[in-house]
């Protein structure tokens, strides 16, 4: 998707969608635990729910490391670093996203291609 549509950042989408999926897993295993007497399932459900913070930080933490790395570059070279998450709140638009340009022109192209005005 990233290759085909330059205005949209697939990494950001992946991050955003992955957390609800993790939450689903975190709720699903304890729910299964209520219907089973297996201690292993109980241990797994407790471990998963307690690791929620760690998993969330792993999903979104990559941006943080990029910023910390960029922070030192800003000091040395004046480089400004934006993140995938910035792309999310900026609406995946090229003027503020990291992937260059033209979210609007992609939409226009799609409209033209589909014959929709």
């Amino acid at each position: 998707m990233k290759e085909n549509v330059p205005g949209i950042n697939t990494n950001a989408y992946t991050k955003l969608i992955s957390y609800p999926l993790v939450l689903l897993m975190l709720f699903l295993v304890p729910a299964l635990n209520r219907f089973s007497s297996s201690p292993i399932l109980l241990y797994t459900s407790i471990a998963l729910t307690r690791l929620e913070g760690f998993i969330v930080a792993l999903i979104f933490g990559a941006n943080q490391f990029r910023i910390i790395r960029g922070y030192w570059r800003i000091k040395e070279e004046g480089e400004v670093v934006e993140t995938d998450i910035d792309d999310i709140t900026a609406g995946f638009r090229g003027d503020v996203g990291r992937w260059g340009s033209n979210f609007n022109s992609v939409v226009e192209d799609l409209k033209t291609a589909s014959g929709f005005d």
């Binding site: 950001a12 007497s37 109980l42 690791l51 913070g53 760690f54 910035d86 709140t89």
Partner: protein, 181 residues
């Protein structure tokens, strides 16, 4: 339900709880520390992420309180914090998804100005269930923050779990009897 029958099993749960919470606590603490330390991180998007992390941190603290919940007061505090942490975590995720949807389809350059309002709404929403439990308990209903039998009574949550659902269903049944159409 999985009821554990030996001291060893309870010890395993306590160890799992401790190790996993420690890992979460360290990672959450590192993220929040970096947020305050590095000014370039104070963007609207990372504010949302850090808010989510703070919610999960609240949940982690409630799990750590489970080591001291033999006292009913600590059990109530643990249950309250657990409820608030879970609700606010869910709320922040919904907000992140909504912001991304909204910005994609109707771009607002000054969306960062809404952050204080979002924080206020999330704080109110995430406290409502726990406050409801307290008010219901004070008014004499059989509900409160007590040890959860589904986790072998090790962690305090809202008990009974089905109270809200059953009371809602019974209220609906009564209403449907009163107003059949």
């Amino acid at each position: 339900m999985a009821l554990l029958d030996s001291v060893l099993d309870r010890t395993i749960i306590y160890i799992i709880n401790g190790v996993c919470n420690f890992l979460s606590l360290v990672r959450e603490g590192l993220m929040i520390y970096c947020y305050w330390k590095i000014p370039y991180m104070r963007t609207f998007s990372l504010k949302l992420v850090i808010s989510l992390i703070t919610s999960v941190l609240i949940y982690t603290i409630s799990n750590l309180l489970s080591y001291f919940n033999s006292s009913p007061i600590i059990c109530w505090i643990e249950g309250y914090i657990r409820s608030v942490g879970m609700m606010s975590g869910l709320a922040w995720m919904v907000i992140m998804l909504y912001v991304s949807y909204r910005q994609t389809y109707r771009f607002t350059p000054k969306i960062y100005k809404t952050y204080p309002k979002i924080v206020l709404i999330t704080a109110i929403v995430s406290n409502i269930p726990a406050l409801f439990v307290i008010i219901a308990s004070i008014s004499g209903m059989n509900i409160g923050f007590r040890p959860d039998p589904s986790n072998d009574n090790l962690f305090c949550t809202v008990q009974p779990n089905l109270f809200i659902t059953s009371s809602f269903i019974s209220q609906c049944s009564l209403l449907s009897l009163e107003y059949p159409f």
